[in-house]
Every structure is written in C-alpha cells, then in structure tokens.
C-alpha cells in the first residue's frame, strides 16, 4: 500500500478513460491525453497506446481508422485500501459532520469496519492554531453550513441573518459562490454575491461562524461567478516588496512561511540576503504587516509606500515607548 503507485498515476488514468470509451479516433486519444495527462504527455504516451506503433502496450487494436479496446468491460473503479484508510481517518474529524448526517456517517463507519485509520489526530500536534475556531459540534452551525453548501451547489439564493464583528445584526440575501477554510484560524468563510435592490451587485465575505441563520430561498440564479472575479477587486494593486537579510536563518524561515503566496524572489549578488515580491489580498493587509514585522530587523519593507509607512509608524511608536521607559534601552 503506497501513495506513490502507478495505479493512481496519470498514465493509468488516461488509459482507463480510453478503454472506457471502447473506441476512439487518434484525435480523441490525443484529446484525452491532453485533458488528463501532464503538459508533455502527448509527446510520450501516444506511441504506447496507438496500436499501429511498434512500442504499444497492446491494449487497443486498430480497426477502420479507429482504435478499439481489446478489453470487454469498462475498467472498474475500485476504492483502494489506502483510500478506505483515508476515509476512515476523515470520519474522525469533527468537520465531517458539516457534510454528512449522523446516520450516513454511521453507515460509512459500518462499511469501513475493520479498516485501520490512515492517521489519527493524536499523531499530529498543532501548537499555534488560533483558539477561537468555528464550533463544528454546534447543530445550528452545521445547519447553516449545510444550507449554504446546498445553495452553492444548486445556485440558489440564501437569506442569512448575520452578526457583524461590532455586534450589529443584518439580514442579507446572497448567492453563495465559494467556501474558504483557514488552517490557521480554523474557520470557514463564505464568498458570496449580495443582492441589493433586486439586483446581484457586490461580492462579500462572511465568517460562517457569525451567521445566525440561513434559509435557502429556492430562487435560482443561474449565473457563474468565478471566484477570481469576486476576489480581484480585493487583490493588492502592487505587490509588497521586502528585503530579507541572511541572518538568523531569516531567509529560509521567511520563504517557508510565505510559501503559500504568489511570489518572486531574487538573491542578492553577494548572497547577503534576498528580495521578495509577494502578491496578497487587500483585506489581509493588516495581517501581512504584522507578519512582516515579526521578522524584526532581518526584514525591511521596501514598497508599497503605504505599507512601508505603516510599518515605520509602528516602529517609531515602539522606539518612543521603549525610550520613554528608559532603564534598559
């Protein structure tokens, strides 16, 4: 039982697709290779499948200009032992109840009886996850989550009651588009399009934990809203550019910590540091600022000017605070 096995591989999957269709033209074969393969698979795989090729695997035969499967049945798709072990593991996660009801979970557990879990929560320790994560054991939270998920699937509008950070309660009519989970916050957020004055207008982001109630209106809005459209107005106008000094392992620490961002890096000619440009979403600017400050003097924010000035203001305030304290500064 191995994760890195050819039975999960792209080539096996492509061949299974072709055999499933029973008969393909050479053009269709190449189309399937392009769709399910890697970028260059179309250079390497056709001679292995094309029955006219001397190096083919003998899984198709050529007949009247088309390639026909030598097999009689569509290849069966089986849940492997590894996949069953993984399913068993996710059943132990409290978040599973956001997707499945207790009865379904019990039936799946029964089906997986005797299967050893691939991992258990005790195998992992996360020291720094925030302590106010969403309440997955709350029936009302689960109900809100499922209503939103179903509405997103069916492209239905939902009417939600939402408590803002400042405590104000609002009623909104929304089309749910995407659901985002933060590993650090252990919270879900809803990306939605809001209806105002009868028209779908602006994008909004709501913490699902702050939604008090949600009701599927049953009104369908058959529009496709790419997430990028919702987020593009939130994307930073220009990337933040920082210089990290090669001290206290800061470069390695920084590049790992910010690995989840789109970035460009360049090493200094003398190896004394590197310059990094990071693209971020504007709502995350405050978080970005404090994360950059956490590198202390090993990191300098070069641009944009607004972020550099915000950092400078905090540093000056800090300098004055410690200077006025006197004794050890």
């Amino acid at each position: 039982m191995n994760i890195f096995s050819e039975i999960y591989g792209a080539y096996y999957r492509i061949v299974a697709r072709i055999l499933e269709e029973r008969s393909v033209t050479p053009a269709r074969m190449n189309e399937l290779i392009r769709k399910y393969g890697f970028r260059d698979s179309v250079l390497f795989l056709p001679p292995k499948i094309d029955p006219r090729s001397g190096e083919n695997w003998g899984l198709l035969r050529s007949e009247g200009g088309v390639f026909k499967a030598v097999t009689k049945n569509p290849p069966p798709k089986i849940v492997t032992a590894l996949q069953k072990r993984w399913l068993k593991a996710i059943l132990a996660d409290p978040k599973i109840r956001l997707f499945m009801d207790d009865d379904t979970i019990a039936r799946l557990e029964k089906r997986l009886e005797g299967v050893q879990s691939l991992f258990r929560s005790e195998h992992f320790y996360i020291p720094d996850r925030y302590s106010d994560g969403d309440k997955y054991d709350s029936e009302s939270y689960r109900s809100v989550f499922r209503t939103i998920l179903t509405a997103a699937r069916e492209k239905n509008m939902v009417e939600v009651t939402y408590r803002s950070r400042k405590g104000a309660v609002k009623r909104l009519i929304l089309l749910p588009v995407k659901i985002e989970y933060s590993h650090k916050d252990d919270k879900f957020r809803l990306y939605a399009v809001q209806r105002r004055q009868g028209r779908l207008k602006e994008g909004c982001i709501l913490n699902i934990g702050r939604i008090i109630s949600a009701e599927n209106t049953g009104i369908t809005e058959d529009i496709t809203v790419p997430l990028d459209n919702l987020r593009s107005f939130r994307r930073c106008d220009e990337p933040v550019e920082v210089h990290i000094a090669a001290e206290r392992n800061a470069m390695e620490r920084f590049l790992m910590e910010f690995a989840s961002y789109e970035k460009q890096t360049e090493l200094d000619d003398d190896g004394s540091g590197c310059t990094v440009r990071l693209w971020y979403d504007r709502p995350d600017e405050a978080e970005m600022l404090i994360r950059l400050l956490s590198y202390g003097a090993a990191l300098e924010i070069l641009s944009p000017p607004s972020l550099r000035h915000a950092a400078a203001a905090r540093v000056h305030r800090q300098y004055r605070l410690l200077s006025s304290g006197g004794k050890n500064f």
Binding site: M1, F4, S5, I7, Y8, G9, A10, Y12, A16, S41, W57, L59, T71, K72, N73, P75, P76, I78, V79, A81, K84, R85, W86, A89, I90, F99, T104, R111, F119, F124, Y125, I126, D128, A152, R153, E180, Y181, D185, R189, N249, L255, M256, A259, Y261, E262, Q264, T265, E266, I290, S294, G296, A312, A313, V315, H316, Q318, L321, L322, G325, N328
Partner: protein, 412 residues
C-alpha cells in the same frame, strides 16, 4: 544514453527539486550542486510538464531562475499532487493491470491457473505464472482484489467497493472528499479518490495552506507506523542548504505542524544524544522502520513533559527560565487587541492593568520561540522583561536597527 521520461521511479530526488523550485524560487542551475547538470535539466523538464501553468521564469545576474509560483488561497486543487501521479511502470505492469481487472469484472472468482488461461484466451498474451501471482499479491495489498481459499486453491475476485457506489450511497461524501483532499496530511489520497470518481473541487478554497507539505506525506506512513508500533526508525536527513546527509536512529512520537510558520517537524528522541528533539520533515530524505523500542513509553512521557513547556518545537531548554513579561498598550477603541492576544496566545496569561494596558506573561522553556509573535505587537510594547537576557537584548537591538532602517521619526 537513456531517453527522457516524464515518469519517475524514485520520489526522493524529485521531492527535493520540487521543494526548492517552490520554496526558494531564486535558485539557478548552479545552485543544484547535489547532482549533475543533466539531472537538473531532466528534473526541471519533468516539473515543467507536471506543473506547466504554475512555472515562472526570471533572469537574474546569477542566471535563469525557475519558480513554482502558486497562491494557495486561489487554487482549487494542490498542483503538487501531480508529482505523485508520475510513478513509472513496465509494459507488463499496465497490460496485466487492465487484463486482470477486465477478466475479473466478468467472473465471480478465478484461481491463478484459470486467470492465466483467461488472459491467454482473451488477449492472446502469455505471462509467466509467477508474474501474475506477484501482481495479484500486490493488488490484494492495494485492496483492488480479494483472495479466499477453497481447499488448497486460492480464488481471486475484484473488490466490491466501487467508487461510484460510495459516492452515491453516502450522501455528502463527494463534498467531504473535495474538502478534505485539500487538507494537510494525506490530502493526496483524497485527491486520487476524486480523480477516480471524476469529480473536481468547485466550491472550497484553502487559506494559510502550505501545499508543499504534500511532498513530505510520502514519509508519514512509515513514521506513523513506527509511532503506533513503538518502534525505532533510522532517518537520513540533510540540513537547510546543505547536501551532507546525516543518519540518526530515532524514537518518533508525533508530527508537530505549525500553521503559522509552515514548518513541520518530527518530534522524537535521538538515541545517540539521548535527548528529546525535533527534525524538520522537509529535510528528511528517507525513513526506515526498525525494531520495537523497549522503553518507548518512558521516553514518550519525557516528551510529553518537554511539550508542556514547549512554545513550538524547542524541547531541550533549562527549566529555570523566567517568564517573559510584556506590557501591551492599546487605545480605548482597540478592544480587538486583547481579543487577538487571547485568540493567539499559548503558555501565556493576560491581565488587564487598566487604562488600556495589559500584562502579557509568556511562561515557556524557550522565550526566543515566542519572539516572532511578540514582534507582531511592535508599536504597542511598553516594556519587556524576564525571559533570557540575550533574547531581550536582541529585541531591543532590533528596534534600534528598525528605527534606523525606517528613517528615524521623520517619516511618521
């Protein structure tokens, strides 16, 4: 000269290239000194093929840089999973795979001899009986086939657990698989299930998601097995930026995964130095499970004891370190600051002093580990004391250096 293939036999070598392209992004050809230039060219070409849309290039004075450029919050599926879908195989492997599955899809169960004959009759293909036997044995392990004995004859049949059946019968499972396949730890397995079920993730996005962790998942089955069975492991690892391989015999306890720094560690006992320590998972090259460790429980208790004072991963610290004490100053309308502290703090207490001032006390074995978080409060720290002098002095020096860096008071 062997020809290039986009498939690979060994994941280890590729893992380190993908990691370097993804994490660093500034490395040029000459920085990959571990192997020959040809190896670099082949690995780069493979990565380009697997991750085409996410590869970007730039030119510096040092040469052409290759970078895997992904904002993990904006993608539906982890593109690095593609590396796992590139395992090489032989022509016999793939032929036998589809031949055996095809025949068993028709028959309730067959013996080895019957299967051998059926392959010959249906496909006109002759395989060595031993080759078929080994493939069947492998597929029993993978769960594709089950075997049962009738007298002295073993009969083989397909597993009845079909992907479509699971996805249809268990309502909500497709969305659960979509979500958990992008979670840390073995998300690749969920993704393989999604691809088998021909579904894709059209709803969920992940924030603060370190997709590179998937490359380390290849090590986890052996490590978790050793933890469960209380066994030693032999680990080969290298340091950051170093190609020198170290071998250590360890007793593994847990995987420590930081959601803020993106680093994952193996918490363990190093049998040579007899200390509780951590090893970066990203720097581990290979893991070998060894014999049972007789005093596993004792060592694990020692680890738990270390963990009780551990801020993140630093285990072996003196016990007499003083708590780090900070006074944090907030403005009247900044109630979100104490809220944030309470949400994020650990091994700490927060006491309201009045007038928007709060005393934050961090009592951990290694105060230095808390300092990156402490520095997120730059601009609000009225005083800082306790901990270790070296840590406090470094912080104060940092503030002085930053004051110079950002141009004195003139910019405010």
């Amino acid at each position: 000269m062997s020809s290039f293939s986009e498939l690979i036999k060994n994941f280890d070598k590729t893992r380190s290239y993908v990691r370097d392209f993804f994490i660093y992004g500034y490395k040029v050809r000459s920085d990959f000194s571990r192997k020959s230039s040809r190896t670099y060219d082949d690995e780069k070409r493979r990565v380009e093929s697997w991750l085409g849309d996410y590869i970007s290039y730039s030119t510096s004075e040092r040469g052409k840089q290759t970078c895997i450029c992904v904002d993990s919050g904006h993608i539906a599926e982890n593109p690095l999973y593609n590396a796992y879908y590139s395992k090489s195989f032989t022509a016999n492997d793939i032929r036998l795979h589809f031949f055996i599955l095809d025949i068993l899809a028709d028959e309730y169960m067959l013996s080895l001899k019957e299967l051998y004959n059926a392959i010959d009759q249906r496909f006109g293909a002759i395989f060595d009986v031993q080759t078929i036997r080994l493939k069947l044995k492998e597929y029993i392990g993978e769960g594709l086939i089950t075997a049962e004995k009738d007298g002295r004859t073993v009969y083989y049949r397909l597993s009845s657990d079909r992907v479509t059946d699971f996805m249809e019968v268990f309502e909500g499972l497709p969305d659960a698989v979509r979500f958990f396949s992008e979670q840390a730890n073995f998300g690749i397995v969920g993704n393989s299930l999604m691809r088998s079920a021909d579904i894709s993730n059209d709803i969920f996005r992940m924030k603060h998601n370190y997709i590179v962790h998937t490359l380390e998942d290849i090590l986890l089955p052996d490590i978790l097995q050793a933890i469960d069975e209380k066994r030693y492991i032999t680990v080969e690892s290298f340091g950051a930026g170093s190609s020198v391989i170290h071998t250590a015999r360890l007793v593994p306890f847990q995987i420590i995964s930081s959601v803020r720094t993106g680093r994952r560690y193996l918490a363990c006992c190093d049998t040579k130095y007899k200390n509780i320590c951590t090893v970066r998972l990203g720097f581990i090259k290979s893991v070998k499970v060894e014999e049972v460790c007789g005093n596993f429980d004792t060592l694990q208790r020692k680890y738990q004891s270390c963990l009780s004072r551990c801020y993140c991963v630093s285990m072996s610290r003196p016990k007499d370190v003083k708590p780090l004490k900070l006074v944090i100053r907030t403005d009247p309308d900044e109630t979100f600051i104490p809220e944030r502290i309470r949400r994020e703090m650990r091994l700490s207490t927060l006491e309201e002093l009045g007038g928007g001032r709060y005393l934050l006390t961090i009592d951990c074995g290694d105060p230095n580990e808390a300092m990156p978080w402490v520095k997120t409060f730059i601009g609000r720290i009225e005083s800082i004391e306790g901990g270790e002098p070296i840590v406090i002095n470094r912080f104060l020096r940092d503030i002085k250096r930053m004051e110079k860096m950002y141009g004195g008071d003139s910019e405010e």
